[in-house]
Assembly symmetry: C2
Homo-oligomer: 386 residues x 2
């Protein structure tokens, strides 16, 4: 097990009818900016619940934060924060709204030239404007971590940011929100959480026995509940396990003390930037090829995953490892998620070279747990995923 | 899954040679009270490492906090805190020293009549004197939770306390400390952590799939590493998994959203108060009888534990559940832990009645996840444990 530091101060308020507890978490006299996305919260009742809970606060709204939170839109919100002297942010939405809110929490207190520098120069945010979240879409884990990914259409870039000042002060998780999520988004959420775990697990055995088992626990739970939620999103037992699994998949816990990969995300982000493919689906496209291309260095862990998560007991290490990749693809297909780039776009020729060149231009040396996936190797993985 | 709230702000600093990081965690200008136990830290080198890290701080020492931290000793430390205007507490020790420090953190700011009221009146500590810990004995999980248990010899009482103001600000976990722990204490630590998990798990199925699997993960890890550490405490891989498992066993995570039992602890505390038996060993005495006495209400979960943790696949639910109790007893015996009261004292006659009467006198209605274990039922469990 590697040395690590772990601190996660976010307060989770989990369960049925918990949105109303909002009012106890925001400081009195706060001037609140309520941030949300495309407006689905106005149709599914969440907006009304939030409004009721905010009755005694001074609130301004900013809706319209798009999926893959767009820099230019966030700059408009930043302007509102400054002109209205906002003191508290409240994100009501999924990962995009929460990530956008994290950017705003950082940018509101940033004193440099342009807030885009926070992303380009990888500036760690030690103190941000305080914020809380009401999660409407389990998937990214953003509700209990301090990271965010921001998109800039103008330059077709998608970059990460973070820092200890960007943990939500609180996050409200009411699994009942799942009843109004479209099937496509639920499938994305399951895929996203599943891939988050794999990025922190599918490397090489490092003697972190407990972290491995926790990771496997989340995978097993997602496999168990995913079909039940897709069948019936009002199944509260399944929904609550799904929601808590998504949070635990990326709240920092399972990555502590272990090597992590994250190459799938790095490559996947480029597919979203280039084609606008849903984030989760880009991971599903890249993962199988990535695991096949890096089979030798990952096969021990793939075989462990095969045995413990998929109950594959037949064959040698190679057989089990390969079978586990197949099982993963079958699982994704079962969610209605395609795993080949050509199933999303006809315009895929040249993508491998484009992504490889982007990585080279950015000075990227090597992705993955061994930092050995150079841009030319990335090109091969992407080509395998056509 | 039940509704829950979860917040754990303790910063964990885990790994080899991490004690020196202490100096970055304590505020400049702090006046520190360094608290420790019987002085073993002066023999195993931990004291020297702590002293080196505290070089630039104003430090006063208070040693001699006994196992089962004793109220009268803690009152002496409280006097030091007040006369010396201490602003920060540093616990260097195991659960007893850390629990004692939590009491002091609460008592230092308590404005009521007598600090014993904090325990008797179950006063929740919202704000305590800030403190950190250097863990020298993995077992209780006190390094990452906000609870403590304090003993008062004078009245043969052992009572709990807690509150959000009693989370350590940081805890340093260097698994190398395990090399100098006597075998008896290691066995106690494994038992303590194992029983902590069982108290939060061995109830009835409640649809909290992820929490169940996390609990099982900790149990499996403890079972895997315990023989390795007892064989060779310098086995760093085993030691690090043992240490992290103990912390995760009682940092609040696995108890969220599920029913919990804690009857074993409630009864076990009385055995420590009456006979001075090591805390962990009291749990080992009570658990098997408790599970047999409450077999009908716990058998489904016992059978799940049998299957997933002990790989017992033969037989029906009753068979598996019973086999799991036997496996648990065998595991404890393998650690060198006796599981019958008569193996610890010849003076056990009447213990059942004494404990039962104490519970009645305190107005206790019912222990366990169903709150139905009345004092007379407790007597039966204790008698089964003779």
């Amino acid at each position: 097990m590697n040395n690590f530091e772990f601190k996660n101060p976010t307060k989770i308020i989990f369960g049925k009818d918990s949105i109303k507890k909002l009012e106890n978490e925001i400081p009195e006299n706060a001037k609140v900016l309520l941030l949300y996305g495309g407006g689905s919260i106005k149709k599914n009742g969440i907006y009304d619940q939030v409004q009721a809970a905010l009755e005694n606060f001074s609130v301004i709204e900013f809706g319209g934060i798009p999926a893959n939170p767009e820099y230019s839109v966030l700059l408009e919100a930043l302007e509102v924060i400054k002109t209205e002297n906002i003191t508290y942010l409240l994100a009501v939405g999924g990962g995009s709204v929460i990530d956008g809110t994290k950017f705003l929490a950082a940018a509101a207190l940033y004193e440099g030239h342009s807030p885009w520098d926070i992303l380009v120069d990888k500036k760690r945010t030690e103190v941000g404007l305080p914020f809380g979240t009401v999660l409407t879409l389990p998937a990214t884990g953003s509700e209990m971590n301090s990271g965010a990914v921001i998109t800039r259409k103008e330059t077709k870039e998608k970059l990460g940011m973070g820092g200890p000042g960007l943990f939500p002060q609180f996050s409200i998780l009411d699994p009942q929100v799942i009843t109004s999520i479209p099937e496509r988004q639920i499938a994305n959420g399951v895929t996203d959480a599943f891939m988050h775990v794999l990025e922190q697990y599918m490397t090489y055995p490092d003697g972190a026995l407990l972290q491995d088992r926790f990771a496997e626990s989340i995978l097993q739970t997602l496999i168990e509940v995913a079909p039940r939620i897709l069948e019936d999103p009002t199944d509260y037992k399944a929904a609550s396990n799904f929601m808590w699994s998504c949070t635990m998949a990326l709240n920092g816990l399972i990555q502590k003390g272990v090597p992590t990969d994250w190459a799938i995300h790095a490559i996947g982000h480029e597919l979203t930037a280039l084609f606008g493919i849903d984030h989760a689906r880009t991971l599903a496209i890249i993962a199988p090829s990535h695991y096949k291309y890096n089979f030798e260095s990952k096969k021990e862990k793939l075989a462990q995953y095969a045995e413990r998560v998929w109950n594959i007991t037949e064959g040698n290490t190679d057989d089990k490892a390969y079978a586990a990749i197949e099982k993963t693809v079958d699982f994704l297909h079962g969610l209605g998620i395609n795993t080949k780039l050509s199933e999303y776009t006809n315009d895929y020729e040249g993508t491998a070279e484009t992504i490889s060149k982007r990585f080279t231009d950015r000075g990227m040396l090597g992705l993955g747990e061994h930092h050995d996936l150079s841009p030319d190797k990335v090109a091969k993985i992407v080509k395998m995923a056509y």
